[in-house]
Structure formats: structure tokens, C-alpha cells
Point group: C2
Chain length 330, copies 2
């Protein structure tokens, strides 16, 4: 049944109308008499006709493709968001083309180029460090997440990472911790930086000394960073990791060293990836709600694709208390 798919022309012939009319009824782009509508629909049905998106795109002068640059398909934080966006976009004529940027500016620029070649009509940035400059004059609207962006045709959904990290650190302090380290990362965008700032602020205000080491936002970096933290200060009682993956990596190191969590060291993550709740002990973390984020981003995409402006409702970042943080007495 590999026979060539029917064209609009065949449908037209079978319905006894012109191709233009078929196009009109299919796209609802103009009024068509009742009977012809029926005839066309019937013919479409009979032939099992589906318009060729390629031809439509060429004729309409648009690609109906939206580009998505994300850090990595395997990211436990971004992949659920991608999933949601894909679903939301399914009901629209737009199709996502997702390419990984791997936290590397070079790769991100390549991805940008690739997407541009494919004439995507809008761009969504998930976990990239692309700056406003590189996105200026792209000629297409850009939506970012995780890094505040601004400029003509550029918007971003930026959550209060600084504030959330500040509160998370205060939470640790309120639990009696005094020696609290933060595992940050040089990768990532402003969100990562802001978490560091929030941490610093809370520590400073409490008159505590900050201890910061750097991972790479992945488990393995968290593992090494944890080793570093312990080398720098064997007395730490709490570690605030910039994201859950980092916390999970740190957790392994502690496990291997036989250091109990949270009895000896408390662990606090960020993101609340699906697996955070399944760690042992379940990870206390700052929740970035994937569902809400994905929907907001998809809405924004739809809005800009129709020439509008996105409207972002603030999405709160709340602490999810589980078992990885314990109260210590002074």
C-alpha cells in the first residue's frame, strides 16, 4: 500500500470542484456552499487524503516548526518539561524540533544555526546560557527559561531562584545548621548564579561563613564536589546542592564514606525531579513544578507564534520537606 498519497488535485476532481475550493473547505479560509463542502469532505474521506505539510509550508511561507534547545534529552529536570511542551503543541499545527546544547556555548550556537536553517518560527531555550546578544536580530521570537532574557521579541520565564535559595538556606539555618556548604556550578544560566546569591545572602545575614564548591549540575560533579566540601570543612552538617542531580551525586559520596544522611549531614536539593522523592532518604528540595513550567512555556510559545506576547503568571518555588534534612541542636 505504498501507492502515492492523493493530492489536492485528485480530491478536487473527485469532488467536481477546483483545488482552490478544496483548500478553502479544508482550511476554513472562505465560505463554500454547503453541497460542495459535503462533496469535498466525501472525496477527502474516500481518498484518505491528508494535505502535505511540506507543500503547505512552502506555499504559506512558513515552516510551522519551533526550535527547542535544551541541555540534554536525558536531563531528569528538562525532559519532563519537554514532554509536557510536546504534548501541548500536538494540538497545534506546530512541531517541535529539539536539539541538545550540552551546556556548551559552542554547541548551543551550532544548535541555533541548525534551527535557523530549518526556519523555525520561534525558539525555546531550556537550560542554555545563550545571552541576549546572540539572540538579537534572529528575526523570530524567543522564549527562555532559566536565564532572564530581554530584548525585542525576546521573553523569558524566570523564577525567583534567588529568593527560593535564600529561603532554603534560611530553612537549614532554622534547623540549627551553622556550617552549610553550597555546591554550585559554573554551568547553566542566571538561575544557577541566583541560587548561589540567595545562599550567600542568607549565610551573610545569619553571620555564617559561606563555603562554596562547584560541580557540573550532574551527579558525578556532585560526587566530586562533596569530596571537596569535606576536605575543606570536615565539620559541615548541611549541604545545599544547586540541583537534585548534584545532591544525588553528593549522596553517593557520603554513602561510600559511610556518612549517614541526614544524621551526620543534611542534604537539600533544588528542582524536585521525579526521582527526588525516591531517593534514600527521600530528598528535601525546592520544587520547580515541571507541569506548570511546561504549560506556561507552551502557552508562551503559542502566543508568540501567533504574533502575540506571552503572559507569564508567577510560578512559586516551594520547599518540599522530605527526609534528607534533620534538625540539629546547638
Amino acid at each position: 500500500m505504498s501507492r502515492p498519497r492523493p493530492t489536492i488535485e485528485e480530491v478536487a476532481r473527485r469532488a467536481g470542484v477546483s483545488p482552490a475550493t478544496v483548500s478553502r473547505v479544508l482550511n476554513g479560509t472562505a465560505r463554500v456552499s454547503r453541497e460542495k463542502v459535503r462533496a469535498v469532505l466525501q472525496a477527502v474521506e474516500d481518498l484518505g487524503y491528508t494535505p502535505s505539510p511540506t507543500a503547505q509550508n512552502l506555499a504559506r511561507g512558513r515552516s510551522h516548526a519551533v526550535g527547542i534547545i535544551l541541555s540534554d534529552f536525558a536531563s531528569p529536570f528538562f525532559s519532563p518539561i519537554l514532554e509536557i511542551i510536546t504534548l501541548e503543541l500536538e494540538e497545534t499545527p506546530f512541531r517541535p524540533i529539539a536539539v541538545p546544547g550540552h551546556w556548551s556555548l559552542v554547541r548551543e550556537l551550532e544548535a541555533l544555526d541548525f534551527l535557523r536553517k530549518h526556519q523555525v518560527e520561534a525558539l525555546l531555550l531550556l537550560g542554555t546560557s545563550l545571552t541576549t546578544e546572540a539572540l538579537q536580530n534572529l528575526g523570530i521570537p524567543v522564549i527562555g527559561f532559566g536565564h532572564p532574557l530581554n530584548g525585542k521579541q525576546i521573553w523569558s520565564l524566570y523564577l525567583e531562584n534567588r529568593e527560593a535559595a535564600y529561603r532554603a538556606t534560611q530553612y537549614l539555618i532554622a534547623k540549627g545548621h551553622r556550617r552549610i556548604a553550597h555546591i554550585s556550578s559554573h554551568r547553566g544560566g542566571m538561575d544557577i548564579r541566583d541560587r548561589l546569591l540567595g545562599y550567600r545572602k542568607a549565610m551573610r545575614e545569619a553571620g555564617l561563613e559561606a563555603l562554596v564548591v562547584y560541580g557540573n549540575l550532574e551527579e558525578e560533579g556532585g560526587y566530586r564536589a562533596m569530596a571537596e566540601v569535606l576536605a575543606l570543612d570536615p565539620e559541615v552538617t548541611a549541604v545545599f546542592a544547586v540541583n537534585d542531580q548534584t545532591a544525588i551525586g553528593a549522596r553517593l559520596y557520603l554513602y561510600e564514606r559511610g556518612i549517614p544522611v541526614p544524621e551526620r549531614i543534611s542534604l537539600l536539593g533544588f528542582d524536585d525531579i521525579p526521582l527526588a522523592a525516591y531517593q534514600v532518604p527521600p530528598l528535601t528540595t525546592v520544587r520547580q513544578p515541571a507541569q506548570a513550567i511546561g504549560q506556561a512555556l507552551a502557552q508562551a510559545l503559542k502566543a508568540v507564534l501567533e504574533g502575540g506576547k506571552p503572559e507569564f503568571q508567577p510560578i512559586p518555588l516551594a520547599l518540599v520537606e522530605r527526609d534528607s534534612v534533620k534538625e540539629v541542636r546547638a
Copy 2:
């Protein structure tokens, strides 16, 4: 700089040749005199010309799109494979269009329909339960994974799940376990079923009684299944989970019940997702090498897209011993 991209015509004019010639040099589709080649290349350079994939596709009568149906973008097992495939495809003219099937036949058929509409030239199935029938007469080559498929234009990379599960169960038995439960799932393809068979075979051969309960391949299903296992047989000493997510879910249940792993109950997973090594305790599991699988699948895709047949080298499934299984004495 939102000025319309240059067309082949402008390039031709600037190079003092015909569009046909530009096309020829760009596609190497016919010999062109040295000087004209230079002129064309120069013009392309000057104008920053990139051919429109849409127009090319229409003219060539192909879409250069390959469809991928995967269970879920957020799947910790499939998303790394998707990542690898995407990377491998980047150097080809083909672009992947991935859509989630959510382990639901209905969704999978919808996805199939969607991809067909978009005229994908080949199909890759990752973790679907689509059968050969539904794929027959699609008119395009199909590559599957996780479910043996066969038919005209249909191939699949199928690993020895049965054998691997058989050996994994034997491993547990060799470690002294007698009461070993298996958490399976009604979801998924033959791979899931084969793991169950491998488990049963090993149990039978050892004269042990099988205990099987069902989850849904996700953490939450593993959690509930673990509760069920314990209700059915409070004396189990080992649980072989059909995949790591299930094992991780089971782990949480045990954690909440205060049942130590592996001291009281040993846990064995399947897949070796990236996070398996980071569980507490690190999960002993059967490794399905994502890198090798992704590359093999990408190779196969490239082969069939060029009209060839894929050649699969066997990919071994090996047990990765970590800390979640302990030896028990009789």
C-alpha cells in the same frame, strides 16, 4: 535583520549563472566548470545563502524526517538513547520527530498517524507495544527496539532479555536466595515478558516457587508492587524488578517500612539507567548499554533510509554488581 533569506535565484543572478547551476554545484549533482563553481560558492558566501529544506523536500519529493515513537521523553532509560540517536542523526540530512506513546496502544496509534501525516521516511520504535500488523503496509521501513518485529521492511534490535533475566535470577539463587519475587509489568513489549520468562525458568530449574506481581514500569508502580510482594510473602529475601525504575520504587517502600536493603531484602534491577549507580545502596542491575543501543539504532536508521538493510551486532546484557544484593546463608 529580519530580511527575507536569499533564494537560489538571487545567488544565481549574483554568480551570473542559472538557478539550475547553483543547484548542481550545491548538490554535486553534475559537473560544473571550475570558474562557475567558484562564482557560485562566492555568491553563496556573500549572501549567506542556505537552501530552504522545505522547498528541497517538496521538489525532491521527500521529507527527510524520521519518526520516533518513544514511551515518554522523561523516561530515564529511553531519553539517553534518544539523545544519542539525535546526535548521530545530526550529521545526516534527516531530522527526528519524536512523539511519546505513553505505553498506550491508542496513543501509539495516534502517534503513528501523526508521523505518517508528516511523511516520515522511516520509523523508530522505542518502548512501544505496536505489533507487526499495525506496521505492515506502512510503506516505510520500521526499526523497533524492545519488541521483536518482523515483516517486510520491518526490523528490530532485540536483546536477549530472557537469557539475561534467567542469569540474573540464577545469580540471586547463587547468592543463597530462595524466596525471590519478580515485579513485572503488563506494559511494554516482549522484553518485559521475556524477563518474566527468564525469571520463571531459573526459579523452576532451581525448584523454587515463583512469586510474580505487577507494576507499571515506573517508580510508583514498583512501590505498590513491593507492598504487594510483602503481603503475599513476608519472607522474601530478594526482589528482581523488571526495570530500575520499578526497583527504585520498591526501594522507597522498603525504606518507609524500615526494611534494610540489602540486609533484609536484596534488590536487583534491569536497564542500568544513569541514576542506578547513584541509588542508596547503589543498585545491582542488568545493564542495557544505552550508548551501544543508541548507536546501533542510529546506524540501522541510516541504513534503511538509504534503502539498505540494517545489520545488528549482538549487544550483550551483563549484570552490574553493586551493593543492593547481599549473599545469604541457608
